[in-house]
């Protein structure tokens, strides 16, 4: 579903991403760990088509991102570290707006169901987003992805700044999305959340994917040790 082949990005003499080879299958959650500047966000941006690769190819559902940037949009959804959305609109209105931009027209009931699926409490639906907590906004972001019926979900530090409860809820939602067949690529600093939610975990350093492990094959402590050794 999501494939990087020798994916490289250079800015002048600096190599932000070096020969990345990666595949994320439907139903899989791949967590990319690494320090700041390791190349995680560059990888996400290359899959989103916001930057052009210097070498190699990023593909989504077998379609080259750089060659068909508009076509790949139908497959993917993106949730940044902080989902700001429109603070003057309610959660429901934000979802309606983004869904219509994605080409979907939902009734109010359907929109409410989507927000419920994403874990947002009913009483928050008609409140303006300006009054939402970060966790609540992330849930609207998830609802936007669900509404779009995205096959691929790209997440950039999604749990950063979330309290443990919100973070846990978020993990549960991600797992349920994966269970529906969504391929998820998540860049994160949170080793323990990665261990808990991911199917596979990759550790990056200086633009290179140094190691990839199956989450089920490693304990949280071992993952931490591996991470510290690698970075």
């Amino acid at each position: 579903m999501l494939e990087a082949t020798n994916l490289t990005k250079r800015y002048g003499n600096h190599t932000a991403l070096n020969q990345l080879n990666l595949t994320v299958e439907p139903g899989e959650i791949f967590a990319l760990l690494g320090q700041n500047g390791a190349g995680k966000t560059t990888t996400i941006n290359l899959f989103l088509g916001f930057i052009e690769p210097s070498e190699g190819m990023a593909q989504i559902n077998g379609v080259s991102v750089s060659e068909n940037p508009e076509e790949i949009k139908q497959y993917l959804a993106y949730i940044p570290e902080t989902v700001m959305l429109y603070s003057n609109l309610t959660g429901l209105e934000n979802l309606e707006y983004f869904s219509s931009l994605a080409g979907f027209e939902y009734s109010k009931t359907e929109l409410a169901e989507l927000l419920s699926t994403a874990g947002l409490q009913t009483q928050a639906f008609d409140l303006r987003l300006g009054g939402y907590s970060k966790g609540m906004r992330q849930k609207v972001g998830i609802a936007i992805a669900i509404a779009k019926k995205a096959k691929v979900l790209l997440l950039d530090e999604p749990t950063s700044g979330l309290d443990p409860k919100a973070s846990n809820e978020f993990s549960t939602i991600l797992k349920s999305l994966a269970a529906r067949g969504t391929a998820i690529l998540m860049a994160t600093h949170d080793i323990f959340r990665a261990k808990e939610v991911a199917t596979r975990i990759g550790i990056m350093r200086e633009g290179c994917l140094q190691s990839v492990v199956r989450a089920s094959d490693i304990s949280a402590n071992e993952l931490e040790e591996l991470y510290l050794r690698t970075v």
Binding site: F50, I51, Q74, Y78, P80, M84, Y86, N88, F98, L101
Partner: protein, 479 residues
């Protein structure tokens, strides 16, 4: 380009505006200023018209109350004519505030209306006025900047642009949607106000609404609509290339200063420097010097007038001017009037040409400053432009010439040469002369004068659209 998505994005821009308090507050301020400007303009024209009517009646009264007089004395008694305000001048004062409003008409003298500095006044002086045109030309763009500076830059800052672009909309759709949203919003907020203001102001000053006025009003609304579209596209373009909202705001404020202060002021200075106009004294000295070269009617040995004398005597078959059936003194004055009038026209046209050349700099610069384009079009359509003023000057000179020649004709035929100065003619003979009636510049002519501004406005629409398309293709502006 997906028009459905552009519409959705534009609609969102509307919703965002009406839910935010600050932009609504700003609109309320601008609305109050516009209403105040309509009132000030209306009052200004109203007071002006009242004073003009009073003065006109007084002058006419004095003219009509003249006793039986020698026609040459009547010619020197003179007559004051007044420049009528165009019905739309309450909207855009244009050059009205800086040029003279009356001219004294007398024999042998072509009194110019104030033509020096004020004849080319624009730019900085306009900041002191509060007309509807100033509000729409200077302040509405500021409003557009305020509501639009963050439209794309803000989305980049909070990561929302990436989410937007992950939907079906392309960057081009987003840019066009934002530009459409801001433009439609500005049209909705200001164009009905503009039209109503024009309608109320015009109807309250005149008995009815002529087709010419209606067309002018329509074209003013259309021109300002295009102007707001240009400003909206520029604001969206600058917001799109800025990395954050703060930078976008700073860049837009700089552009505002450039468009509304620096370029207009430079255009004025550049025009004055390249095309130097003579001052009033030099202008008048030039005329006097040329008249002296052609012929001096007061000099009995002047070759031109000696020749006139010879040919007149020959034509009537007499040997002395006393034997002529006409008054030779009046004939000399008629000829002197012909000469001075021709020379004045030549010098005046040269002077006008210099002023036009000065103005052409601003017209050319409207291709790098849309404010100059709308300013010129607005003045053209409101009848407060340079051409309307020169047209008044031309018509008054024509009227003066005809009036003087009519009096010379009375002198020629009704006053005998012998004891010329002791004779009188019946006051009725000069009381019957027609009143001066200014014929305003027709709409076709106004549009012809504003052709450069209109072209510049369309150039800007095309240029802004091209700029948005260019930006939409650059990936670096999406992050």
């Amino acid at each position: 380009m997906n028009t459905r998505l552009i519409k959705i994005i534009a609609r969102q821009e509307w919703a965002a505006f009406f839910r935010a308090r600050l932009p609504l507050g700003l609109y309320a301020v601008l609305l109050s200023m516009s209403i105040l400007a309509i009132y000030i303009g209306w009052q200004y024209v109203n007071n002006f018209n009242e004073h003009q009517t009073e003065a006109k009646e007084e002058v006419h009264d004095h003219w009509m109350k003249q006793p039986d007089r020698h026609p040459h004395r009547v010619a020197h008694y003179g007559y004051l004519v007044f420049r009528e305000k165009s019905p739309l001048s309450f909207f855009d004062f244009g050059l009205d505030s800086y040029v003279g409003n009356s001219v004294f008409l007398e024999a042998h003298r072509q009194n110019t209306i104030n033509m020096s500095e004020a004849g080319f006044s624009n730019g900085m002086l306009r900041f002191g006025e509060l007309s509807m045109a100033v509000v729409f030309q200077l302040l509405v763009p500021l409003f557009i900047i305020f509501i639009g500076f963050h439209t794309i830059a803000g989305l980049k800052e909070n990561g929302l642009l990436k989410i937007l672009l992950c939907q079906k909309a392309t960057f081009r759709d987003v840019l066009l949607g934002k530009a459409a949203g801001i433009t439609l919003l500005t049209w909705f907020l200001f164009l009905p106000l503009l039209f109503l203001g024009l309608l109320i102001g015009t109807v309250s000053h005149s008995a009815g609404l002529s087709t010419d006025e209606l067309i002018r009003m329509g074209l003013i609304v259309l021109s300002y609509g295009i102007y707001f579209l240009i400003i909206s596209m520029i604001v969206v373009a600058v917001s799109a290339i800025s990395t954050n909202a703060r930078n976008a705001l700073m860049a837009l404020v700089l552009i505002w200063i450039l468009f509304y202060v620096m370029v207009p002021k430079s255009a004025q200075n550049l025009g004055n420097t390249i095309f130097v106009a003579p001052d009033k004294i030099t202008f008048e000295q030039g005329i006097e010097s040329d008249i002296a070269k052609v012929g001096d009617s007061h000099n009995p040995n002047d070759p031109h007038f000696s020749e006139l004398k010879e040919s007149t005597l020959k034509r009537y078959g007499v040997d002395s001017i006393q034997a002529l059936p006409i008054n030779y003194g009046a004939l000399v004055m008629q000829e002197g009037e012909n000469i001075s009038s021709g020379i004045f026209d030549k010098h005046y046209n040269q002077l006008i040409q210099i002023y036009k050349s000065q103005n052409s700099i601003a017209s050319f610069l409207s291709f790098i400053d849309p404010f100059l384009a709308i300013r010129n079009i607005s003045m053209n359509l409101s009848g407060t432009d340079f051409e309307s003023f020169t047209e008044f000057q031309k018509q008054t000179e024509r009227y003066r010439f005809e009036k003087t020649q009519a009096l010379n004709k009375i002198h020629l035929n009704q006053i005998k040469f012998k004891d010329d100065s002791k004779q009188r003619v019946n006051a009725q003979s000069f009381q019957q002369q027609p009143e001066f009636k200014f014929q305003p510049v027709p709409i076709k002519m106004s549009l012809r004068h504003g052709a450069m501004g209109i072209s510049a406005l369309f150039f800007w629409v095309l240029a802004s659209f091209t700029l948005l398309s260019f930006i939409s293709k650059k990936r670096q502006f999406q992050l």
